[in-house]
């Protein structure tokens, strides 16, 4: 029902408005109920006793509280009456509502708009009390869906909540058939079609079928909200990105961005694409090969939907390369090892594994490299042979051991002549040769022939055999350098020189890397997988939902045969887009590749009224009014609580009150997020502080007195450092060993207390990291000389799980004794404790011992101060303790700098004084 005062304002239950009649009664009641007296503190209360006011009636409620409460009540009554602003009148006199919702993958970008429109329509149906028929155009799942039925509006709303865009194409032919037999076919129904703006299979059929039942309003989005598809083709320049749109937007090109994401969600690349029509210009990501290898998906940003996600499968991924070698790294002399050159060349482009041939064939490598291996165990040979026969690529390098074993050599592309050929040496007349060419028919075609690469020694192919078509590269005199021949489904390739720099310069040149890359790329030709066993089924590993997010596949998702996948199976409810595969072989089913070419929705005929989304919106005012009434109730409550405060009118109190109200009024997640941000900010602020200057740090033991002592001691020490040395600590930091980052502190003072809890596994890991990366910890057992089993046990508990090198008592000439002062002892509160340091100097730590263990209780001595006395040895002992502390700090800061100083006389001598 409309009213004349506010056109467009309608109450759904106008009877409630009669409750407004009770407002005057409420006003009277509220007026005579006085507020609680406020408490006034006054020293002269004695003088008030016995003073009686003339008026006997209690004082009135202030008028503004009265107004507040009445307003609150009015709002509540209005809210209960259910006002609706600007109600849509889309339904007119229809007997029922048919709601057709496009829920294919292309609806994802405008899903919220669709749902809002649908909710509005259902709300109106509820007011008019007419039934609703929900008709999603895409199949909800692989199982045959039950036939749609008429629902009351409330149930329809619940059903709508369960509706989500599907990651496949809408197919409207079946729906068109259904519509003909569903209620509403005979007329009297209003049809709202919430379309996604694209043409789908059978769209015209559906429109015709719906037209039988009454008026159709077809909603379509603005061109900016239309779905796009992303497809990627591999090309020589790398993955080529194509973004396709349904409409030719002409001069107004749509700008979208494509992100390249790693498996852990990191954004590896970001590229803007101008989409101006069905065939957009290809775009390339300019990123290094090593980074490109990590990309697992490309994704259109800010445009949800399965069509905008392109998953990368094996055909784009890094190759798995195996190198037959005893171990991955040689400790002694890497530069003479073939494995070193291969690893350096391939590491950025391939996943490398080292091991025996048999082990590597089991590890599902696509390329196996044999660097100069003449003979191998029969078991290895058989495994390798089977593997190559099944489609592997074997790359062999020559070398002394190959040259000596050519007689019974198998798995080589061409027969070899024994002995090899040396082109340089005291007994040869030949000179080292350059590479002449890469055969144009070979996969190495087009590589630049290096001018500076000399081959000094090689293994020769037996010229008796025909080398026709087997030579990929040859030397200046025509002898083959790289040969290849197919073997079963696989390929054998041989490079007739070493993979180390012994026989040639080739491994030192860039072309070596190029050759290996070409071969690695060659090793994963998809044909190898496709026609091995064509009946292999690939199980769904992870699939996309309608919005393009990953989810676990459920039982309705069916495996796909390898052959079907290669042939181009369509994306359908049983096969949503995603990664399908089995161990060793993964293939991506991408919607963008398989979806039909996008076209805009056609003109559906004269009986269909096309309109844009969001033209009319009705606005239910109830939630807003309720919220307002609630806010007023809070305000009223706050006023009751803080009446005294308000009347005294102190800004601080008002602010506190507002803060309380604000806390309740705003949703707590915001507050929590802010809190989190605050904590993070404070943590990073601390880090920033510690990173910006030198801080002395002590480990908190949990014993307040001991911690206080440590702080006082280090503060004194810091002061002394500042006044005596150029190390000027900015302050003292207390470190929680479990939680605080340690990396900022050159050394940590750790007083060992008997009661201290040993750090947890996380804490130990952090301490170990700290020690391994150059940190130094001074453990202070604090008992002087002799034995204290309790303290020793506590120290053992802390350090037991740490990897600390063997220790020794401080030798007399240790650098610690001369980093700043020349010292022969390190007294603290006690003078007799033994100081333990790491045995020998560790390379990489600049000779600084990672732990120093002593028992002289330095913190107490530092805290007592150098000049105050209070130590058994008087102020001299205090001074020596400070000197010891300065030496510790200088030791941690400068390392073995002072040991180098012993060479100064010799250096001066050499400089000629």
């Amino acid at each position: 029902m409309m009213n004349a005062l506010f056109p467009g304002l309608v109450f759904s239950t106008p009877l409630v408005l009669w409750a407004l009649a009770v407002l005057p009664a409420v006003w009277f009641l509220l007026r005579v109920m006085p507020p609680r007296p406020r408490v006034i503190v006054l020293p002269t209360v004695r003088f008030l006793e016995g003073l009686i006011p003339e008026r006997v009636s209690p004082s009135h409620t202030p008028w503004w509280i009265l107004l507040l409460r009445l307003l609150m009540l009015t709002l509540l009554i209005l809210a209960l009456a259910g006002p609706v602003l600007n109600p849509g009148s889309k339904l007119g006199q229809a007997q029922g509502l048919r709601l057709v919702i496009d829920n294919g993958w292309s609806a994802a970008p405008l899903w919220e708009i669709q749902i809002r429109e649908a909710e509005n329509a259902i709300a109106e149906a509820e007011r008019l009390n007419i039934p609703v028929l929900l008709l999603p155009t895409a199949a909800l799942s692989a199982e045959p869906a039950e036939s749609p039925r008429l629902l009351p509006a409330a149930e329809a709303r619940a059903a709508l909540k369960g509706l989500l865009p599907r990651p496949w194409e809408s197919d409207m032919t079946a729906l068109a058939e259904q519509v003909k037999i569903l209620p509403g076919a005979e007329g009297g129904y209003k049809t709202l079609w919430l379309g996604d703006g694209l043409s789908h299979k059978g769209i015209q059929l559906l429109a015709d079928a719906l037209a039988q039942g009454g008026d159709i309003t077809f909603f379509h989005p603005q061109p900016e909200a239309l779905a796009l598809t992303l497809r990627i083709k591999s090309s020589l320049k790398g993955p080529e990105i194509q973004v396709q749109s349904a409409v030719d937007s002409g001069a107004m090109a749509r700008k979208v961005s494509v992100q390249a994401l790693a498996s852990d969600g990191r954004v590896l690349g970001f590229q803007d694409v101008d989409v101006d029509g069905p065939s957009a210009a290809p775009v390339f990501f300019d990123m290094p090969e090593a980074v490109r290898g990590q990309v697992v998906q490309y994704r259109l940003t800010a445009l949800p939907g399965a069509g905008g996600v392109f998953l990368m499968d094996g055909s784009f991924q890094r190759r798995a390369v195996g190198i037959v070698a005893a171990q991955e790294k040689s400790e002694n002399a890497p530069l003479v090892e073939a494995g070193y050159y291969l690893r350096r060349a391939l590491e950025p482009y391939a996943d490398l594994a080292f091991g025996s041939a048999a082990a590597l064939t089991r590890k599902d490598r696509s390329l196996i490299i044999l660097p100069d291996i003449g003979s191998m165990p029969l078991e290895d040979l058989n495994a390798l042979e089977d593997w190559v026969h099944g489609g592997g690529l074997l790359l062999r390098f020559a070398g002394p051991s190959v040259a000596g074993n050519v007689a019974n050599m198998s798995l080589v592309p061409v027969p070899l002549r024994a002995g090899g050929r040396a082109l340089e040496g005291s007994l040869t007349w030949e000179t080292p040769l350059h590479i002449k060419e890469f055969s144009p028919a070979s996969p190495l075609a087009g590589l630049e022939v290096p001018k500076d690469v000399l081959i000094r020694q090689q293994v020769l192919a037996d010229p008796a055999e025909s080398l026709e078509g087997k030579v990929w590269a040859s030397l200046e005199d025509g002898t083959p350098l790289i040969t290849a021949s197919p073997y079963g489904k696989g390929l054998l390739v041989m490079i007739h020189t070493t993979a180390s720099a012994d026989w040639s310069d080739l491994p030192l040149s860039g072309v070596f890397v190029d050759i290996l890359r070409r071969l690695a790329a060659l090793s994963a030709a998809p044909s190898r997988h496709a026609d091995t066993k064509s009946d292999i089924a690939l199980d769904p590993l992870t699939v996309l939902d309608g919005f393009g997010a990953f989810r676990k596949p459920d039982a309705s998702v069916k495996p796909i045969g390898v052959a079907d996948m290669a042939k181009g199976i369509a994306v359908d409810p049983a096969h949503p887009p995603g990664i399908y595969g089995r161990p060793g072989l993964q293939m991506a089913l991408n919607l963008g590749e398989r979806a039909p070419v996008l076209r805009p929705a056609p003109d559906l005929g004269a009986h269909v009224l096309a309109t844009l989304y969001g033209q009319t919106f009705e606005w239910a005012l109830t939630p807003m009014l309720l919220a307002l009434a609630g806010a007023l109730a809070l305000l009223d409550w706050g006023v009751m609580i803080g009446l005294g405060m308000i009347l005294r009118w102190q800004p601080g109190n008002i602010l506190a009150l507002l803060a309380v109200l604000g806390f309740f009024a705003f949703s707590s997640p915001v507050a929590r997020a802010a809190e989190g941000a605050e904590v993070a900010a404070s943590a990073s602020a601390n880090d920033l502080r510690y990173a910006g200057a030198l801080y002395l740090a002590y480990v908190q033991t949990g014993d307040a007195a001991l911690d206080g002592l440590s702080r006082a001691g280090l503060e004194n020490l810091a002061q002394e450092l500042t006044s005596r040395t150029s190390a000027e600590p900015a302050g003292v930091a207390a470190v929680d060993i479990e939680h605080d980052p340690l990396a900022f502190f050159p050394w940590l003072y750790w007083p060992v207390s008997e009661g201290q809890k040993p750090p947890g596994p996380g804490g130990l890991q952090k301490i170990q990291d700290y020690l391994d990366h150059g940190g130094t910890i001074l453990f202070d057992l604090r008992y002087g000389a002799g034995q204290n089993t309790e303290a020793d046990k506590a120290l053992q508990k802390i350090t037991g799980a740490l990897n600390i090198p063997p220790l020794m008592p401080l030798p007399a000439e240790h650098v610690l004794t001369r980093t700043f002062y020349l010292l022969d002892s390190f007294p603290g509160l006690y003078t007799t404790g033994v100081l333990w340091v790491e045995k020998g100097s560790v390379s990489g730590r600049d000779g600084v011992s990672s732990v120093i263990i002593g028992s002289n209780d330095w913190a107490s001595a530092w805290a007592a101060g150098a000049h105050q006395g209070g130590l058994p040895g008087g102020s001299r002992q205090g001074e020596m303790a400070i000197r010891a502390g300065i030496n510790f700090t200088m030791y941690a800061l400068t390392g073995n700098y002072k040991t180098d100083q012993v060479h100064v006389p010799y250096i001066l001598e050499r400089l000629g004084r």
Partner: protein, 305 residues
């Protein structure tokens, strides 16, 4: 264990507050004093003192060691003989200070206005400063030491601030006989108590200044509506005064103001009848003017002496 710990904490807190409040108070007192110290406030008479007053020809009654030989040598040319250096006469009197520290003294109706206790302290300290500069000895009532150095001033300030258990009226026995006394307080005790106290003091000294300090809310009662009035401080700590509920504060304001004014007038009358000086101060006013007038009175009294 717990309770003693919290008590200790509170005491420490109070001591810290006291210590941190002291420099501020002293500074304010210094400011007031500086504005009043125009030049020398000496007795302008020859006498016992440190400062030079005048040269005078030697007389037989003078001690030989008082002869200023330099001046005598200069004056010889003018025909005079021997000069004596005369020093200024400076009198020293002991003035004791007392500032009430009852719970009610910590009251202030508005954060912008200092509490009565603070005001009393500032007035006492300013006066003490002025007096030490004029050579008087000052000390806190009940404190053992008095003096005229800046240390004495410091001691005075500390004992005035630090003592928490001062009652609302001074302990009369602590006053040295014939010493001056400056009493600052709100004097809200029942009139008989005040009368007894004043009577006891009258026997000991004539030089008493009563500084009566009240908050503006105490004199005017500027509240409206309903209110439950309670005395400041912990319940039961202040004579067990019961809270008083007033429904229409506006109605009783006039009656209250009359009562308070009568009380004040009674205190003043008592002070005057003893021959003491009395000043009234409201905390929202500037203490400087008050100190100035007090100083004038003291000067005048000193001049008479």
């Amino acid at each position: 264990m717990m309770s003693s710990l919290t008590l200790l904490d509170r005491l420490m807190g109070r001591a810290e507050r006291t210590a941190s409040g002291l420099p501020g108070l002293v500074m304010r007192a210094e400011k007031i004093a500086a504005s009043l110290m125009h030049g020398e406030h000496s007795k302008r008479r020859a006498g016992m003192g440190e400062k030079f007053w005048q040269f005078r020809p030697y007389d037989v009654s003078d001690r030989p060691q008082d002869i200023d030989w330099k001046q005598s040598a200069k004056g010889h040319a003018e025909g005079r003989n021997v000069f004596v250096r005369e020093k200024e006469w400076q009198s020293a009197q002991k003035v004791m200070f007392w500032c009430s520290a009852s719970a009610g003294m910590e009251y202030s109706s508005n954060p912008a206005v200092p509490t009565k206790h603070e005001t009393g302290l500032v007035i006492c300290l300013a006066l003490a400063l002025l007096m030490t500069r004029a050579g008087e000895q000052v000390g806190a009532l009940g404190a053992r030491r008095s003096g005229r150095s800046s240390l004495a001033l410091q001691n005075l300030a500390e004992s005035l601030l630090g003592k928490a258990d001062f009652g609302s009226l001074p302990e009369t026995a602590a006053l040295p006989v014939h010493a001056g006394l400056v009493m600052a307080g709100d004097f809200l005790s029942p009139l008989p108590d005040i009368e007894a106290c004043f009577a006891a003091l009258e026997g000991r000294t004539h030089q008493v200044t009563v500084v009566h300090i009240l908050d503006v809310a105490e004199t005017d009662l500027p509240f409206e509506g309903r209110g439950l009035f309670r005395t400041p401080g912990l319940p039961g700590n202040d004579g067990g005064a019961v809270p008083v509920r007033i429904d229409h504060i506006g109605d009783i304001r006039a009656a209250y103001q009359k009562r308070i004014e009568e009380h004040r007038a009674a205190v003043e009358a008592m002070a005057r009848s003893c021959g003491w000086s009395y000043v009234f101060h409201r905390t929202d006013r500037d203490p400087q003017a008050l100190v100035a007038s007090l100083w004038e009175q003291a000067q005048a009294a000193g001049g008479r002496r």
